[in-house]
């Protein structure tokens, strides 16, 4: 039976207490009774039980620290522990975001770090100006699209459409819609690349504000016609937005700015190795070419007179996209990662990330269908189409969990039947990759000989396969409702 933290209650035995000092002990609470609450049903939990409870939960979880985590488009690379030690230095951890207003001199270290990072990101991506404020990749996309919106307004041509390919991340169309653009989806060609003819047709009416692309794309393929694509879009008066989710496939080897992109976001929690933390926090800095710099929301750091300053966008630009200066804790880690590697390390990391993906693809090409056989970059996509006995991608993924590793990203991109998207990253060794390959080969063999083992997986985890339909049809979202469910 599941025991939640609410089941560990021992009233009055809470782990952490606070007692008022003598001088304020007798100060009255002057809040009217009608504005106060009656009771608070949060458990008091003794410290030893608190620790055991969450250690136990951690044991029912899996991270890169446990083993390979080949989630495509997620770039689950190793997170260096020195970066944790640094971000926990009091000079980074215990500083208030507005303390610089008392005296700018009291925050020069962090401002220098932000200034260096925004400059390094610009150099590595080939852009001119960066804001570090957006909190995640999608938040960065939204920030970039607001910039495009302002650009379109400045042009006064009323362009209101954004093109996304059918291989794009779901956040691309969602971000475009959130910025009130209309989304046009174009289909990929038989090679898995942008179909130039379709692109030209979509641009023809003259109402396209821009295109969003990730390169390498989500099939792991480099858009070989990228220079032609960006030039066609520019000729039609549109802007080119680069989704940096897949930057790990080319960082330091070529630059989105040189490909003709005008705006880019970078997922610091992917390419620059900050821990994913179970879904965040991330950071999604946005960079632009000079002609858009005055339209970009968010603070930037200047260094004009030997001192660092926070500069907000000028009149006519936007203000902020969230509170304060960005996800600083994430930004500090990414800064450390980039500084540790240097240019040579960044290039070598990219090369090895691409080598690892190609190696796994090569080893598995006779085990699973790989619909696109061109050179892959940081990731590649397989399919369940040639699996015997009706074994599906979901079955394979669950069986991989059973056999002690995490599964790849599944059922994305949508254009591949039963997509299995594998991104090993550069921080996995050949031995780990060989394990991954062996596990998938074993599952293939099981699918032939004893498919029920695969179809009923997992067998070794805390729970068997869960009923997703029931979860959505009958939402049980809190401990109180769970109790009712159990009693039924």
């Amino acid at each position: 039976m599941i025991a939640t933290i609410f089941d560990k209650a021992a009233p009055g035995k809470n782990a952490t207490s606070f007692v008022a000092e003598n001088q304020v002990k007798d100060i009255a609470i002057d809040i009217p009774d009608t504005l106060l609450r009656n009771g608070l049903d949060i458990p008091d939990v003794p410290e030893i039980e608190l620790v055991r409870h969450y250690i136990e939960l951690s044991r029912k979880n899996y991270g890169i620290d446990n083993g390979i985590y080949p989630l495509g488009s997620c770039t689950m690379k190793y997170n260096p522990k020195i970066d944790e030690a640094i971000v926990n230095m009091p000079g980074f951890r215990d500083i208030h975001p507005l303390q610089f207003l008392q005296d700018e001199g009291n925050s020069q270290g962090i401002l220098q770090l932000l200034h260096e990072l925004q400059t390094m990101l610009a150099e590595v991506t080939g852009m001119d100006a960066f804001t570090l404020q957006p909190a995640a990749g999608a938040h960065g996309e939204f920030t970039g699209l607001l910039t495009i919106k302002r650009h379109v307004e400045r042009q006064g041509l009323g362009k209101n459409k954004i093109i996304v390919p059918d291989t794009s991340h779901g956040t691309n169309p969602a971000s475009a819609a959130a910025a009130t653009f209309e989304v046009i989806e174009i289909k990929s060609n038989e090679n898995g690349l942008v179909d130039i003819e379709q692109l030209e047709q979509a641009l023809a009416p003259g109402d396209v504000a821009g295109i969003m692309l990730t390169n390498p794309n989500t099939l792991g393929l480099f858009e070989e016609n990228i220079l032609q694509i960006t030039s066609i879009v520019h000729e039609a008066g549109g802007l080119c937005y680069y989704d940096g989710a897949n930057l790990n496939g080319l960082c330091g080897v070529c630059r989105p700015g040189d490909m003709g992109f005008d705006i880019i976001h970078v997922n610091l929690h992917k390419t620059f190795s900050t821990p994913h933390g179970g879904g965040g926090p991330g950071a999604g800095p946005v960079g632009v070419k000079q002609f858009l710099a005055d339209l970009l929301p968010g603070p930037r750091i200047s260094n004009d007179d030997g001192k660092f300053h926070i500069v907000m966008p000028e009149q006519g630009g936007f203000g902020s996209i969230k509170a304060f200066h960005g996800n600083i804790g994430v930004i500090v880690r990414a800064y450390c990662f980039i500084k540790a590697l240097g240019l040579d390390g960044l290039r070598k990391s990219t090369q090895c990330a691409v080598l690892n993906a190609n190696y796994v693809k090569e080893c598995l090409k006779d085990t699973m269908c790989v619909p696109y056989t061109r050179r892959c970059y940081h990731e590649f996509v397989g399919s369940d189409e040639c699996m015997p006995n009706g074994v599906t991608t979901e079955d394979i993924a669950k069986r991989m969990l059973d056999l002690g590793i995490h599964s790849p990203t599944i059922y994305f991109p949508l254009i591949v039947h039963g997509a299995i998207m594998i991104e090993p990253t550069e921080t996995e060794s050949k031995a780990r990759l060989d394990d991954l390959v062996d596990i998938i080969k074993r599952i293939r063999k099981e699918a032939e000989d004893e498919p029920d083992i695969v179809k009923n997986a997992p067998h070794t985890l805390p729970v068997k396969r869960l009923d997703q339909v029931l979860a959505a049809r009958n939402p049980v979202l809190t401990v109180k409702v769970l109790k009712e469910m159990v009693e039924k």
């Binding site: 599941i2 933290i5 782990a15 304020v24 609470i29 809040i31 009608t34 949060i42 939960l57 979880n61 890169i64 620290d65 985590y69 640094i86 230095m89 000079g91 208030h96 975001p97 009291n106 260096e116 150099e123 909190a135 996309e141 475009a176 819609a177 959130a178 910025a179 220079l227 330091g252 630059r255 490909m259 933390g277 179970g278 879904g279 965040g280 926090p281 999604g284 936007f318 203000g319 996209i321 509170a323 304060f324 600083i328 994430v330 240019l343 390390g345 990391s349 190609n358 669950k398 599964s407 550069e426 921080t427 060794s429 050949k430 009923n456 805390p462 068997k464 009923d467 939402p475 769970l482």
Partner: protein
């Protein structure tokens, strides 16, 4: 240095298997004119910040320590304004640093992620208890972006209305984020005193946002506002924006006050200030209709397909961008999961007893300081309601600069000079106290103010 485990020999074997001569040849589908060779790559390094060869761990640590040493860690902090100095139990840092949590991804594979999923489920249970609402999501970026999302949710209920009304003082930092993020949507923003809400309602009003505690620290009678608004027009969405999640431990919950959506900043629940981020936005709703418009991850309990066991899984994903793409109401993917985990453990470490104690000391410390400062010649309290842990004082002309200077000299972070954010607030200062400010430091601040007034 790098974090690549393969030896040169491994790399050679793998290159052979792939069928290319060297690492550079892997990039054979990149157009030659944009491919950087070793020499060309060096040319992109103009500033010198990014070195060619990187650093050792020892060099990195000492360089970073140098930067950290040029940020002042104040001995006592009297600034809040959206980011708060609170005690974080040692167990919080200890437990969240487990690699199984820290280095995991979004728990897409439920059966291998039961630990994280259960922690999110517990968070949802705690937030619904604290807010008195029915459903909570699994985190948003911060208080400001939560408010943005709440307004977008309100718009989904009523596409024709365009006025957003704020009762009480909204944090101007939130307001900038709202105005920026929602700029393409053509909203009009009205700011009114709490008692003026009803007189200002008309058919254009989409949502009333009751800020409580508000930017000035005021605790509003949200129940009175919600009741009056709903009596006049039940279609108006009432949102409560909460500056400080800790206040929920003692104040009437948004649910009990009758609001539709509760949002706010939960950085005060176990998350370090870190110069303002990463933080934690919470969002909870009162009914099922709004649940299906909620942004972000949601975890539900369910049963095994072939068994009786109960487990947890991400659910109601038909709301989300990876399923609905452009039809999704929100684009959020990465959220602030690890800070959510900090909040769960922090709340559990304090328990109801510790939360109420902490909140109570926050109020008492603020009242102690407020009382002393208000007695000073030329210092006037600007709050017209009870306050939580922040309050605003109008100080004698240019005393603010003297206070700032003296605080800086004594390694205190003094009250926030509101004139730097809004000229209408010239000579007003926003004070904040928490359980961290001891009486001695509060007395020092009183002395500084006394001297600044003379």
């Amino acid at each position: 240095m790098d974090y690549i485990p393969n030896t040169d020999e491994d790399i050679q074997i793998m290159l052979k298997q792939v069928g290319v001569r060297d690492l550079v040849d892997l990039f054979d589908t990149v157009p030659q004119e944009i491919l950087l060779d070793d020499m060309q790559a060096r040319k992109i390094l103009k500033s010198g910040f990014l070195g060619e060869h990187g650093m050792t761990e020892l060099e990195l640590k000492s360089m970073a320590a140098g930067l950290a040493s040029r940020n002042k860690v104040c001995k006592s902090i009297f600034q809040g304004a959206g980011c708060y100095w609170h005690y974080i139990p040692a167990s919080v840092d200890y437990l969240v640093s487990r690699g199984e949590f820290w280095t995991s991804y979004t728990p897409y594979q439920a059966e291998r992620s039961q630990g994280y999923l259960q922690a999110i489920f517990e968070y949802q249970s705690m937030i619904t208890e604290l807010t008195g609402m029915k459903f909570s999501n699994a985190s948003l970026h911060d208080g400001a972006t939560s408010l943005v999302d709440a307004i977008i949710m309100a718009q989904s209920q009523n596409k024709k209305r365009t006025t957003i009304m704020f009762a009480g003082k909204i944090n101007p930092i939130y307001m900038t984020a709202v105005a920026t993020a929602l700029s393409p949507r053509g909203f009009t923003y009205k700011h009114v005193e709490p008692h003026q809400v009803i007189d200002n309602l008309d058919e254009s009003v989409l949502a009333v946002i009751a800020c409580s505690p508000d930017f000035f620290g005021n605790i509003l009678d949200v129940e009175a506002i919600a009741r009056a608004v709903k009596e006049r027009d039940p279609n108006i969405i009432v949102i409560q924006c909460i500056a400080e999640a800790l206040s929920l431990a003692i104040l009437k919950s948004p649910g009990a006050a009758g609001v539709d959506i509760a949002v706010g900043e939960a950085q005060s629940l176990g998350i370090p200030m870190s110069f303002g981020g990463p933080s934690l936005g919470f969002l909870a709703v009162a009914d099922t209709k709004l649940l299906h418009k909620m942004p972000g991850r949601i975890v539900g309990a369910t049963r095994e397909i072939a068994g009786d066991g109960i487990g947890f899984t991400l659910t109601l994903t038909a709301r989300e961008q990876h399923i609905r793409r452009e039809k999704s109401l929100s684009n959020i993917c990465s959220n602030e999961a690890l800070n959510m985990l900090r909040a769960v453990i922090h709340v559990a470490a304090l328990g109801a007893t510790g939360l109420v104690q902490a909140a109570t000391i926050n109020v008492k410390n603020a009242n102690y300081l407020k009382h002393q400062i208000c007695q000073l010649e030329g210092f006037t309290c600007m709050n017209d309601a009870s306050t939580f842990n922040e309050f605003v004082i109008k100080v004698p002309e240019s005393a603010g600069e003297r206070i700032a200077k003296a605080c800086e000299a004594q390694d205190l972070l003094g009250p926030l000079n509101l004139g730097t954010l809004n000229l209408e607030w010239k000579d007003m200062m926003l004070f904040c106290t928490t359980e961290m400010n001891d009486v001695a430091s509060m007395d020092r601040l009183v002395n500084i103010c006394t001297e600044a007034s003379s």
